[in-house]
């Protein structure tokens, strides 16, 4: 598979000063290859969210090196990281985070606006992405007119409309019931297999983590375990 997509080399992330200094990450080493589907687990305060923020180029390490696609992303400024996110990363959040009173299609188009894509092309790409997540016919609905599962599908469409390399999902099923959870996980698995999309996903639920090929458990700022899952599906 060549060089890993994501590499943590003795990554530290610390907050506060002196006595009150807290280490969210304490020298984490980690590598994720292109096309992998990784679940990240751990109790709250274990450092998994911090790790996810760094993976998604939203945050930078205090010490150590985070490289993304061979680029030292931890040393990039805000705008360069914004550009990396726009070009290579898609985000899915627990609370969907769609723009209210804005149609599904317009929500999906949003990342393309910041890429400078022309209006007509944006519309076409948004329609394709909505088709990929099975939301044909819902383009002009606003989030308030969609169910939780549908809103999360819109969010996934928004994440993949830019054809990213990496999908960062932060408890994507946290707000959904069991049936909806499995639908969304099937969708993520399909995108991982069919598009070769690398997926990193934070979750609390073991059966959600089972959809991934690999589970990384965080504890007290360290990687506690890193195991390959048995093929379930």
């Amino acid at each position: 598979m060549g060089a890993p997509l994501i590499t943590f080399d003795k990554v530290w992330k610390s907050y506060g000063q002196g006595e009150a200094r807290v280490h969210a990450l304490a020298g984490v080493d980690l590598a994720i290859r292109r096309g992998e589907f990784v679940a990240i687990m751990g109790p709250s305060g274990s450092g998994k969210s911090t790790a996810m923020n760094i993976i998604g180029c939203l945050d930078t390490p205090t010490a150590g090196t985070y490289s993304f696609m061979g680029v030292d992303a931890g040393r990039l400024d805000r705008n360069r990281r914004a550009m990396l996110r726009n070009l290579y990363v898609g985000f899915v959040f627990q609370g969907y985070n769609l723009l209210a009173r804005t149609t599904a299609a317009e929500n999906v188009e949003l990342p393309l606006i910041y890429r400078g894509v022309a209006s007509r092309e944006r519309r076409d790409l948004a329609m394709q992405a909505l088709a990929q997540v099975g939301l044909v016919g819902r383009e002009h609905h606003t989030p308030a007119e969609l169910s939780g599962g549908q809103q999360q599908r819109v969010a996934i469409a928004r994440a993949i409309v830019t054809r990213p390399t990496l999908l960062v999902a932060d408890e994507p099923t946290g707000n959904l019931d069991t049936a909806r959870t499995h639908e969304i996980m099937e969708l993520l698995t399909k995108l991982n297999r069919e598009l070769g999309l690398t997926v990193t996903m934070v979750t609390h639920e073991a059966d959600v983590a089972d959809y991934a090929e690999r589970t990384i458990r965080f504890l007290d700022g360290h990687v506690a375990s890193d195991t390959a899952n048995l093929e379930t599906a």
Binding site: N53, L58, A82, N86, F91, N97, L98, L110, I113, Y114
Partner: protein, 405 residues
């Protein structure tokens, strides 16, 4: 991209119509006040200038009595030595640079024709008066020199007098009674309308000076001497000459003050115009304060807007918006908001000025430059006062912003 942003900001303004409108109110009131003030101000200035030029520009008016204040006649404490015919004769003989010199004595007198009567401004003067005041005849003829000299009972009437007595008919040749004397109408004056001080300039009767003195005033005094400067001579230059000649004619020794006053109509026009300008400027400054308050309102509401939409900013930043995108989004929103206020303000201001123009009978004089300035200024207010809130939004940390409830 910019069009997208403008559309976005219009949508967000529409979502909070009431709030947006209340925010705009400061700008609306400020701009409306500025536009109304400046438009009414320039209309008033035009009106005053036109009025004064109706009185006759390049005109000096000599009056008996020491001048008190700028050009006014003396108080009641002094015994006024009236102007006399020899003063007029001296001016006619010696003054250079004058186009016309004419005496005038005036009184409000009851004028009667048939069963109708009217109190009118009756002036005794000579044939140079029309030239001096720049008045014209619509029909008939001015007094002849012999009529002036002998004081024949003839007169010229204004439009108001004609309407009162003759309706649509031709007044020429008719005899009217002025006080206890009768007088034949020989001409009709061109209508001039009201002065800025509300005086009907058409309710007048002109008659030869000697006729007036003998039959109406009962003395040989001259109230005023009107002197119109010719085109090459500024009134400022003419004034000292008039003063010299009159001091000489009235035998005033150099150690004493003149016992007559000379009013310069051009100066009065300038003074009134500049007073209007000063007033306009001061009111404009007050309106400027309102604009400042409006700007602070915009800043306040933009801060609220940025806080309310922290999560939205987080989403936008996460999916790849640069700082400048967020900055531009909120700057455009603030600018569109205040520009909207500016446009509404301009419309209200023009409407107010239009209303004032009708009620005050001044010309409606909107200035494109002022309107453009108001548009530019309100946009500028949006940018200036929107900048800080926009920057605050743009500088948000995407992680914190996404966590914001």
């Amino acid at each position: 991209m910019i069009w997208e942003t403008v559309r976005l900001s219009l949508r967000s303004i529409r979502r909070n119509v009431l709030r947006s409108f209340l925010t705009l109110l400061g700008i609306v009131i400020g701009v409306a006040a500025v536009i109304a003030m400046l438009t009414i101000g320039s209309g008033t200035t035009q009106k005053v200038k036109a009025d004064i030029s109706k009185l006759g520009s390049n005109l000096l008016v000599v009056r008996a009595g020491r001048p008190a204040g700028p050009g006014g006649p003396g108080g009641l404490d002094q015994v006024v030595r009236p102007l006399a015919e020899k003063d007029l004769a001296a001016l006619v003989a010696h003054l250079t640079g004058a186009r016309a010199i004419s005496p005038a004595s005036q009184k409000q007198v009851r004028v009667i024709f048939g069963t109708e009567s009217l109190t009118s401004g009756v002036t005794g003067t000579d044939s140079a008066y029309l030239d001096a005041r720049d008045w014209k005849l619509v029909s008939g003829r001015p007094f002849s020199d012999s009529e002036t000299r002998s004081g024949t009972g003839v007169c010229l009437i204004g439009e108001t007098v004609r309407q009162q007595f003759f309706g649509a008919g031709d007044p020429e040749g008719e005899i009217i009674r002025v006080n206890r004397t009768s007088c034949k109408i020989i001409g009709l004056l061109e209508p001039k309308g009201y002065t800025g001080f509300g005086q009907d300039q058409d309710n007048v009767v002109l008659m030869p000076l000697h006729a007036y003195q003998r039959r109406i005033a009962g003395n040989r005094d001259i109230d005023n001497i009107y002197i119109a400067a010719d085109d090459r001579t500024p009134t400022g230059e003419l004034q000292p000459r008039v003063e010299d000649i009159l001091r000489d004619a009235r035998r005033i020794t150099p150690d004493r003050e003149s016992d007559f006053g000379i009013r310069d109509m051009t100066q009065i026009a300038d003074a009134m115009a500049s007073a209007t300008t000063t007033m306009t400027g001061m009111l404009g400054a007050v309106a400027g304060v309102s604009l400042l308050v409006g700007g602070i309102g915009i800043m306040n509401i933009m801060l609220v807007s940025v806080t309310e939409r922290t999560r939205e900013i987080g989403i936008r930043l996460a999916i790849g918006a640069h700082e400048k995108h967020i900055l531009i989004q909120f700057l455009v929103e603030a600018t569109v908001l205040s520009l909207l206020g500016g446009i509404i303000g301009i419309l209200i201001g023009l409407a107010l000025a239009g209303l004032a123009a009708v009620t005050l009978t001044i010309p409606f004089a909107p200035s494109p430059a002022v309107i453009l300035l108001a548009v530019g200024f309100s946009a500028l207010i949006g940018m200036v006062f929107g900048f800080f809130p926009a920057l605050r939004g743009a500088r948000l940390d995407p992680i914190d912003a996404l966590r914001h409830e």
